[in-house]
């Protein structure tokens, strides 16, 4: 395996070969593909009829309807197109966290980004990668060529976690820079102010992007399974707290549960797909389960 292909696991790829990730809503593309297009025309799938307007091409007139009703109607078809996929990967310092025996969240997210890129490029979709912390630190514009995967993998491998998270700023920035509607896949631990996150996501949804949140969390972050006197030191700041975590475990879990529930509910209300991924679980299992679920919902 080439060193740039660290995050491209063949086993995972083999399992993804039968899966497809399709946009729920219409996406704008140049080429025909698997995703619904907002444009009508060249496709074979009927969409609707509309009144004839001067200047319409006569070949789209439904002559059968004209014969029966003596009225001119234009027959429209749903265009199917390829999608532009924007993978937003959080590479802030908090993504470097790894519980005992686990991979870091960054590695886990990189595997995920690589797998998704592979999958989408296989569907002739354009895939772009945005790596961010408090701002976008690396950006690979969307492209649909297969060799584009190499660029993505190289970028993933050369990146290391640094900086604080400023998700809202990043989401606003992405929303303003994207020219076409597409599929936005946010891979992050979402450790930022919730209100700011929701604001950024709302901006993306306003621009009619299909948004998927892949929330990567470490098992320790979810469960706080530490023993004895522990001094927790924040990886993004110099904050610290010295405590016996065992005594705080229940309250902590409760607070985290509330937090995750809130994100899931808010995302659900906005039509955003939300998937919590525990880095202690195998990536393929989690990803395949999510893609299968998404396919069922389409």
């Amino acid at each position: 395996m080439k060193s740039s292909r660290k995050y491209l696991d063949p086993q995972l790829l083999s399992k993804l070969s039968n899966m497809e990730l399709v946009a729920k809503c219409a996406v704008e593309g140049f080429f025909s593909g698997q995703h619904p297009s907002p444009f009508h025309g060249f496709s074979v799938e009927y969409s609707e009829h509309r009144d004839y307007q001067p200047g319409d091409e006569l070949k789209y007139l439904d002559w059968k309807v004209f014969g029966r009703s003596d009225k001119l109607y234009i027959k429209q078809f749903q265009q199917e197109t390829n999608a532009t996929v924007y993978i937003l990967l959080d590479c802030s310092k908090s993504m470097s966290f790894a519980g005992e025996g686990n991979v870091t969240k960054m590695d886990y997210a990189s595997y995920l980004a690589a797998a998704l890129s592979y999958l989408m490029l296989g569907q002739s979709d354009s895939v772009g990668l945005y790596m961010f912390a408090d701002r976008i630190v690396k950006q690979i514009p969307p492209h649909s060529k297969r060799k584009h995967l190499n660029a993505i993998l190289t970028t993933l491998q050369s990146s290391s976690p640094a900086g604080r998270t400023n998700l809202a700023e990043v989401l606003h920035s992405v929303a303003e820079s994207t020219k076409r509607r597409g599929l936005v896949v946010l891979i992050s631990d979402l450790l930022d102010e919730q209100a700011d996150i929701y604001s950024g996501l709302a901006h993306l949804k306003y621009l009619k992007h299909d948004v998927i949140i892949l929330h990567t969390m470490d098992h320790q972050e979810l469960n706080l399974d530490y023993e004895g006197l522990v001094q927790f030191e924040d990886v993004e700041s110099d904050q610290m707290i010295r405590t016996f975590p065992h005594s705080l475990k229940e309250a902590y879990r409760s607070r985290v549960r509330e937090y995750l529930d809130d994100i899931e509910k808010t995302a659900g209300k906005s039509g955003i797909d939300y998937c919590l991924l525990d880095t202690s679980e195998p990536l393929d299992k989690a990803l395949i389960a999510y893609l299968a679920k998404r396919k069922r919902m389409m």
């Binding site: 927790f232 924040d234 700041s237 110099d238 904050q239 010295r242």
Partner: protein
């Protein structure tokens, strides 16, 4: 700020302990990088720098605690600036309401003048002053008054018979100045007539109290004081139904005074005698009360009174209660080297016992060899035919015998033992010390010239008369001692050579007599003569036994309990009338009804029949109106209070009366707060 026990400040070195502990005993913990600190307790999240600050803070708190403990042990205090203007103003006013303040002259009574003077003073005080008034004679305090209340309180003050006392007043001011009002501005004012009694009270105060201001208001008669007082009286003798009362009259005024003095009981009154005294002069006046019978008398109340008033009426009367028990007991022990030696005395006594007044007398002869086995306490009179060596061994017993009312007669012979004489002289038993033995002849002085003897027996007494009729100067004395009379002894009868023949001395309640000749020599001559009975009676004595119940106000009054009261000695509900006529409950102690407070001067009497009395009189010198000069007053008052805050104070800060404010309480509160802070901080930081 200064420290009483500054040595404890070295304890502050202990602050090094927490520093070392902080450096050495850092807690062990696991460092874990983490991302979701906000989901742990939010209040516990802190920065590393803040953590470091907290660590230093808790270390400082612990060091401070150690330092504070050291400071508290060193007892910090602060010398207050007496000139501080914002402090509370507290005024203590001591008002003399003793009897001398009742002195009245043309300008009114001293008490009224004192009230006016003090009311003016109170009016000049700041309106927010807290005023405390003390009645110096009764010791009563009225505290926490406003100006109006104080003026009314002063108006209500009355005269008390008690002497003004300053101990309580000074001690209360001292305690308040150091405690309750340590921050306040304290002013003290004392108003009194500043008699010698008051001056003596000031002299007793060992350490003056330092206050912010001190004023005295001497209330002194405008014209020379006129006051005569009966200061003492007692029954001198009781004979043939006559009570001789010796009363002491003192001119406590500043001018010559002539007054009449008499004594009276409830039934009889003596003939008034005129007394004329210069200023400060004292005179003992003898008054005779004809009781009309020679029988024993129970306690009778006798009042000795000066006629007509002067400046103070309260000291013109003296209350004396007396009980008379005529004639001593005549249970006689004759001790000598042999029975023959005391034969003449025995014969004379047996003759005497045939007379009415000696009909209950009894006599026992004893040899010196058997003396140690005799209980001398059962006898009233002991006669020793000589001072033999055996008396040395019983000197202590003889002393207690005389002290308790016994009478001893010593005869002197050639065998006078010097060691026994020394032992008896050392115990103050002998009325005269036998010196050189003189082997020459002389005669006894004629009895008629011996006023001492006539006064001892009574010149109108039949026995005395027979002795007077005998030609005493015919009795020759050929072998006698040169007697050196005791300083408290008295030569009752002398020889023509000038040496003493009979000397006597009182000791305790009893009396001792020494006869400067042997029983069978010159005294024997007397014994064999017609004067035998008279001389024997003279030696035995014929004094009536008088018990007096006269007390001063500062003494505890004791009235002999009746048989009924003695039977129920454990009861405490026996009632007596006090001097003010009110009844009070008393208890029986050691065969006496004991009263602690009799409410002034006058009579205390029992409710039982026959009534028993006790007289209660003023304390000595209470109404002495001899005026002190202003310098003397200021010097006397300076013993109690010192005003101001001068350099002398600064130089001698160790004096107990400087107003140091103790600061340990404030340090204690800071310590408590720091301890709570430390506990909270340590708990929060898990250190």
């Amino acid at each position: 700020m200064s420290f009483t026990e500054w040595i404890f400040l070295f304890g502050a070195i202990g602050a090094a302990g927490p520093v070392l502990a902080h450096l050495l005993a850092r807690p062990k913990f696991q460092r874990v990088p983490f991302t979701m600190l906000q989901f742990l307790r939010s209040g516990q999240i802190e920065s590393r720098s803040r953590r470091r600050i907290k660590d230093i803070l808790i270390l400082l708190i612990r060091c401070l605690i150690v330092v504070l403990i050291a400071i508290m042990f060193a007892r910090p205090r602060m010398l207050l600036n007496a000139a501080s203007g914002n402090s509370q103003k507290v005024c203590y006013i001591g008002l003399d309401n003793s009897l001398s303040m009742s002195y009245t002259d043309g300008t009114g009574s001293l008490l009224e003048r004192m009230k006016e003077s003090v009311s003016d003073y109170i009016g000049s005080l700041d309106s927010d002053s807290v005023i405390n008034i003390c009645e110096l004679a009764t010791g009563q305090w009225i505290r926490g008054l406003t100006i109006d209340e104080s003026v009314h309180a002063v108006e209500r003050i009355n005269i008390s018979s008690y002497t003004a006392g300053f101990d309580d007043f000074v001690s209360v001011v001292r305690a308040d100045a150091k405690g309750k009002y340590s921050d306040a501005e304290i002013s003290v004012a004392v108003s009194s007539d500043f008699t010698s009694a008051v001056s003596q009270c000031f002299d007793k105060i060992s350490e003056p109290v330092r206050v912010d201001s001190f004023e005295v208001f001497p209330i002194i008669p405008g014209v020379p004081a006129v006051n005569l007082a009966v200061t003492d009286a007692h029954v001198a003798s009781v004979r043939n139904g006559k009570l001789k009362i010796e009363a002491t009259v003192v001119n406590y005024g500043q001018a010559v005074q002539t007054r009449q003095l008499y004594a009276k009981t409830r039934a009889i009154k003596s003939k008034p005698l005129e007394v004329s005294l210069a200023a400060g002069q004292k005179q003992v006046v003898t008054l005779v009360l004809e009781s009309g019978s020679n029988e024993n008398m129970l306690i009778v109340p006798i009042e000795v009174e000066l006629v007509e008033g002067d400046g103070i009426e309260g000291d013109d009367k003296y209350y004396l209660a007396a009980s008379v028990n005529s004639g001593m007991g005549h249970n006689v022990l004759l001790a000598g080297n042999s029975y023959d030696e005391t034969f003449l005395l025995k014969t004379a006594f047996e003759t005497l016992s045939g007379m009415d007044m000696y009909e209950n007398a009894s006599l026992k002869q004893v040899d010196y060899n058997d003396l140690s086995g005799i209980d001398i306490g059962q006898y009233d009179i002991i006669m020793f035919s000589s001072i033999g060596k055996v008396l040395e061994g019983v000197a202590d017993d003889l002393e207690s015998f005389v002290q308790t009312g016994g009478r001893i007669v010593f005869f002197l012979t050639g065998e006078c033992d010097s060691t026994a004489v020394k032992a008896l002289w050392a115990k103050d038993i002998l009325p005269a010390l036998p010196g050189e033995r003189l082997s020459k002849s002389t005669h006894i002085q004629a009895f008629s010239t011996s006023s001492a003897v006539s006064s001892s027996i009574g010149s109108d007494d039949p026995i005395s008369q027979s002795l007077l009729n005998y030609e005493m100067d015919r009795v020759q004395v050929s072998d006698y001692y040169k007697l050196d009379c005791h300083s408290q002894g008295e030569c009752l009868w002398a020889l023509e050579s000038g040496d003493g023949f009979v000397c006597s001395k009182e000791l305790g309640k009893g009396k001792t007599v020494i006869v400067n000749t042997s029983v069978d020599d010159s005294a024997g001559t007397l014994m064999k003569s017609n004067a035998c009975l008279a001389f024997c009676a003279f030696l035995l004595g014929n004094e009536a036994k008088v018990e007096e119940y006269s007390f001063r106000l500062d003494e505890r009054v004791r009235i002999p309990a009746s048989d009924m009261e003695l039977r129920n000695a454990d009861r405490t509900d026996f009632q007596v009338y006090n001097c003010d006529g009110q009844m009070s409950t008393v208890r029986v102690s050691d065969s006496f009804l004991v009263l602690n407070d009799v409410h002034g001067t006058g009579w205390v009497k029992t409710l039982t029949s026959p009534t028993r009395w006790a007289g209660v009189n003023l304390c000595a010198g209470e109404t002495d109106m001899t005026a002190l000069t202003m310098d003397q007053i200021e010097n006397a008052a300076g013993n109690a209070f010192v005003a101001g805050f001068d350099e002398k104070i600064q130089m001698d800060k160790s004096s107990a009366d400087f107003r140091y404010k103790p600061l340990w309480k404030y340090f204690a509160w800071v310590l408590v707060v720091l301890l709570l802070l430390e506990i909270t901080a340590a708990n929060t930081m898990k250190r």
